[in-house]
């Protein structure tokens, strides 16, 4: 493993690329599914291209400290742009490809970019449309020439031409090479490597400045932790402006010399991942969740025999799979053999379908993942782990070491990371990856960074008995019941939502006597369940109000209560009453955000009679709501909704003090 203390002193990415070209020139560095096949580039070719590119960019006027916007989906040439810019000491500023012109204009102007590199015509159009508002922008480069033939090319350049220009200059004389050598030496570890804009939930995006040292140290931590090396494959499909992609697909790739694969298009990621068979993967929980749901739904359509076989082996995997993966003792030989057989018949093929056959380690982060889902993947032999990270930390805050992997925690502090939890339960951390500051925003920087170098994460959490960190909610969302016990609504809701039958849950309780909750059933899952159990229904509303459905949901809620009771400080948040909503929460009605997040306040207002009923002890309540149908018409649906009382469990765990 390399560290920044390497005597050769490679402390920037261009230097590491040069090293890779030296150490492993023939190994594939990048692949891109294009024109039907995986076009490949070796480290030597990449090195060569980046050098030429840097010269070309220099010729276009890019200088040390200049900012280069990079807009588009994951493409090798866009990653090379980062390296070429960094070679010259300029700062790449990746921008979300799907951001609208307005946001782009802000980021570009705020970062004062001089050059912008776009993936295709669409992004070029966007850039051109905002170029007036970005007076610093001089040149626009693009990767895919399609449709751009007739554009005015006075300030528009194909990347290939720029690279060719660089090649020509390098061939023409030693000046260009000298320049490259000079610039390479001039960059220091503490120099600004990249600015990543985070789309804050509120307000303008903030530009997180990370130095070479930040990014490199973080990447090295990750590589060392999971023993990544040049034989690994990763698929780059997450937005390049997101820190995760930058660390995984750029920094770690260059540090470990592994191969980055760019999918053909966002729609083909699944197939492309399957083709490549990545060994190292990252995906947000919803990706894993979707895969599992799809698996279950599809298996419903399989023949009876196959379904029984599937169930048998999945049950078996549930029993022993994780233990086998964790190399725990106490699994009988028979169970191991059976698991092997299951691997041949079920787990292996499943992993194959998911493209996870060769997976060494997979990460999920960003949100809590359902324990069932998490366990499922682990039990079939996918080494799935959670981590907790932030842009400001160059990702890594906590990680799960092998053998200590649990669904409900995000793991121990990552190497070289210190964590403390303040009196409000907010998590603070300090590490080599901690960022320089927000670009052109010292105020915000000061708000986030404590004088002693800790960063406020904004998340509430606690360490459990095993020393693992648990994140419960955004710090500002955590409320308290009247008796003062903690009420983290999202934590409770997530626990509910882990059941496939429950699509949404909205928990109430801040400042009230007890916790009560709205539940939205999942039509697909419950519909399937109903079909199997002979429950007939004519509408969603009817299904939602069906007593058997209530019974089923009650069981889920009961389980959630039991698990809450067993957790420190969470016992008070047990659900006393719940009801099943008669309609699906819908973004068209304003109940959800467009990203499908619950708008708690709006719902509370809209369903006020129901909330009232939840807290006044009545067993049912009437409600009528205006809804928007798919064709845009509006209508009113009225319903009488039943309410169930739940049993709560005595709190087992001692109420730990939050300050660890």
């Amino acid at each position: 493993m390399l560290s920044s203390a390497d005597p050769r002193g490679e402390h920037t990415f261009p230097q590491l690329i040069a090293r890779n070209a030296r150490v492993r020139p023939a190994r594939t560095a990048f692949r891109h599914k294009d024109l039907g096949i995986w076009q490949s580039w070796t480290w030597a070719e990449v090195h060569d291209a980046v050098r030429a590119y840097a010269v070309g960019l220099h010729a276009l006027g890019l200088r040390r400290g200049g900012k280069v916007a990079i807009v588009g989906y994951n493409r090798p040439r866009l990653y090379w742009t980062m390296a070429a810019a960094q070679w010259l000491g300029a700062v790449p500023v990746p921008v979300y490809a799907d951001s609208v012109a307005e946001e782009m204009a802000y980021v570009l102007a705020h970062a004062e970019v001089t050059h912008a590199v776009a993936q295709d015509q669409e992004q070029v159009d966007k850039l051109l449309s905002v170029s007036e508002r970005v007076p610093t922008l001089k040149h626009i480069l693009y990767d895919e020439p399609r449709g751009l033939r007739d554009y005015d090319h006075s300030r528009l350049h194909p990347i290939d031409e720029v690279i060719d220009e660089g090649r020509k200059r390098l061939a023409d004389g030693p000046e260009a090479a000298d320049l490259l050598a000079r610039e390479l030496e001039a960059t220091q570890p503490a120099d600004l490597a990249i600015i990543l804009y985070t789309s804050g939930t509120t307000g303008r995006p903030k530009g997180v400045m990370l130095t070479y040292e930040n990014v490199l140290r973080a990447a090295e931590i990750g590589c060392a932790f999971d023993k990544l090396n040049e034989s690994d494959e990763i698929i780059a499909y997450l937005p390049i402006a997101w820190v995760g992609d930058h660390i995984f697909s750029y920094a770690q790739a260059i540090v470990a010399g592994l191969c980055v694969n760019c999918p053909e298009s966002p729609d083909t990621v699944v197939e492309d991942r399957r083709e490549i068979g990545t060994t190292y993967a990252f995906a947000p929980p919803r990706v894993f969740e979707n895969m599992l749901t799809l698996t279950m739904v599809r298996m419903e359509d399989a023949g009876a025999l196959k379904r029984r076989m599937f169930k048998f082996f999945i049950d078996h995997a549930n029993k022993v799979g994780e233990k086998i993966l964790n190399r725990e003792r106490g699994v009988s030989l028979w169970d191991r053999l059976l698991w092997r057989l299951g691997d041949l018949l079920v787990y292996g093929p499943l992993k194959n379908r998911f493209g996870l056959t060769r997976i060494k380690v997979g990460y999920t982060a960003g949100e809590a993942i359902g324990p069932e889902i998490f366990k499922f993947y682990r039990s079939i032999g996918v080494n799935l782990k959670q981590l907790y990270g932030q842009t400001e930390a160059s990702v890594y805050v906590t990680m799960q070491p092998d053998g200590e992997i649990r669904a409900d925690t995000v793991g121990r502090p990552a190497p070289q990371v210190e964590i403390r939890i303040d009196e409000n339960g907010e998590v603070l951390y300090r590490s080599p990856g901690v960022f320089l500051g927000y670009y052109k925003d010292p105020e915000k920087t000061a708000e986030t960074k404590t004088p002693d170098g800790f960063v406020r994460s904004g998340d509430a959490g606690f360490f459990d008995q095993t020393g693992h960190l648990r994140i419960i909610d955004r710090a500002k969302d955590v409320g308290r019941l009247r008796d003062g016990s903690l009420f983290p609504p999202k934590y409770v809701e997530n626990k509910l939502k882990f059941y496939p039958n429950i699509k949404e849950a909205v928990a109430f309780g801040d400042g009230r006597e007890y916790v009560a909750c709205f539940i939205n059933i999942d039509l697909v899952a419950v519909g399937n369940w109903a079909e199997r159990h002979g429950v007939t229904y004519g509408s969603y509303q009817e299904l939602a109000g069906h007593p058997l459905v209530y019974d089923m949901i009650e069981k889920h809620v009961d389980e959630v209560n039991r698990s809450l009771a067993s957790e420190p400080r969470m016992g008070g948040a047990q659900i006393k009453r719940f009801l099943i909503l008669h309609k699906e929460l819908d973004a068209d009605d304003g109940e959800l955000t467009r990203t499908q997040k619950v708008r708690r306040g709006f719902i509370a207002e809209r369903y006020a009679p129901l909330i009232k009923a939840l807290y006044d002890g009545s067993t049912e309540a009437d409600i009528s709501t205006e809804v928007t149908f798919e064709d845009g018409r509006k209508g009113v649906i009225a319903a009488r909704v039943k309410i169930r009382d739940m049993k709560t469990y005595p709190v087992e765990a001692p109420a730990l003090e939050m300050a660890a």
Binding site: R31, G36, I37, W38, Q39, S40, E233, R273, R274, E275, I276, G277, T295, R298, M299, D301, A302, G303, K306, M309, F310, L344, L345, V346, G348, P349, L350, K351, N352, R353, G355, L356, T357, R358
Partner: protein, 361 residues
């Protein structure tokens, strides 16, 4: 189930256009070929002589007809005749030039049937479909007549039959009474594998695309610069070549001698069954079809008495034969109903199922 596609990515067009792009398929094929060769060492004469050798030869003939009917869309009922041309040409050549190795003649004899095929393919420019099929019947009946009536073709043998004289390869008899079933099986297997490989190359390249183009939409094909006539004739030539070689192999590597009746209209139908049941436009289907049409009745002949025996029903050989006919007929209809596109499609579906295993789709 056995597919582990993850990690099988193609970085070149050559790899992407390979006939078997998936590693598991390549392994499977290798295993099948090895097993096929291993079969020779079972020394089970019944298996080799009565099952495997004819199965392979008929598969080759079915491939030949499939190239014409399945790929180029030209229905032919003259397969038996074209096979006969190969057999008689081979006989003439090998008796006229005994010093040249017989394998050369087997492979060359196909060119004669190709020429005859082209001749009878000439009407295909003007006539199509069933009309063309009946036109090929003219070839069938004329050729059959010629094999019987032109004594020069069978060297004026009094028996009117052509017989396989002793011929050796590296000193081992491969043709003639002393050639063991194992040796002939190995020769047949090797020839069939080689020729199948060539057929696979053809259908996966420009020529195969042109054939399929005229099959699917001949007018559009012509307007794209494909010369219909040449392409159709090429299909006739290649198809007849395969049939001819199969015919020569049939006589010299299986029967050991034959009368002209071997190449009668029933032979043509027999091969056509194989092609259709196996799947039009599929090489592997030709093998499946040959297996079903040729091996299944043999299996039934063995299985039926065993099945009926325990029930005390002891029937004569002819009842078995009649039941065999009925079952084969019913199965043909059954398979057509279940999968009109032939066993090859079932195979594809099965493969697809294995690929998406455990999912149903």
């Amino acid at each position: 189930m056995f597919y582990r596609e993850a990690g099988q990515y193609k970085t070149s067009y050559a790899a992407d256009m390979a006939v078997f792009p998936l590693r598991e398929d390549r392994i499977g094929l290798a295993v099948i070929i090895l097993a096929a060769y291993a079969l020779a060492f079972t020394r089970n004469d019944f298996l080799l002589q009565a099952v495997m050798i004819p199965f392979l030869i008929f598969s080759l003939a079915a491939i030949g007809l499939n190239l014409l009917t399945g790929y180029a869309g030209l229905l032919s009922l003259g397969t038996g005749g074209f096979m006969g041309v190969g057999a008689y040409a081979c006989y003439k050549l090998m008796t006229a030039f005994p010093e040249v190795n017989v394998l050369v003649w087997i492979l060359l004899s196909g060119f004669f049937s190709a020429a005859v095929g082209v001749l009878f393919g000439l009407p295909s420019l003007r006539i199509k479909g069933f009309y063309l099929a009946v036109a090929t019947l003219a070839a069938q009946f004329f050729l059959q007549w010629a094999f019987n009536r032109i004594p020069w073709l069978y060297n004026y043998n009094l028996s009117g039959a052509i017989e396989a004289p002793l011929r050796t390869l590296f000193g081992v008899p491969i043709i003639g009474p002393t050639a063991t079933a194992e040796v002939r099986y190995l020769v047949v297997l090797t020839l069939v594998i080689g020729l199948t490989w060539v057929a696979s190359n053809l259908v996966h390249g420009r020529i195969g695309r042109e054939w399929m183009a005229i099959r699917d939409m001949d007018i559009a094909a012509e307007l794209m610069g494909i010369k219909l006539f040449q392409t159709k004739l090429l299909a006739f030539a290649v198809s007849s070549y395969y049939c001819g070689v199969a015919g020569a192999m049939l006589v010299f590597l299986w029967y050991g001698g034959a009368e002209y009746t071997v190449f009668d209209i029933n032979q043509s139908f027999f091969i056509l069954f194989m092609v259709i049941i196996g799947g039009l436009g599929s090489l592997i289907g030709s093998f499946f079809g040959a297996a079903l049409i040729f091996i299944m009745p043999i299996g039934l002949g063995i299985a039926l008495p065993a099945l009926l025996g325990p029930f005390g029903i002891n029937v004569g050989a002819e009842v078995i034969e009649q039941l065999r006919f009925m079952i084969v007929g019913a199965l043909i209809i059954f398979f057509l109903i279940v999968e009109p596109h032939g066993l090859a499609r079932l195979w594809q579906i099965a493969k697809q199922k294995l690929r998406v295993w455990p999912f149903p789709y």
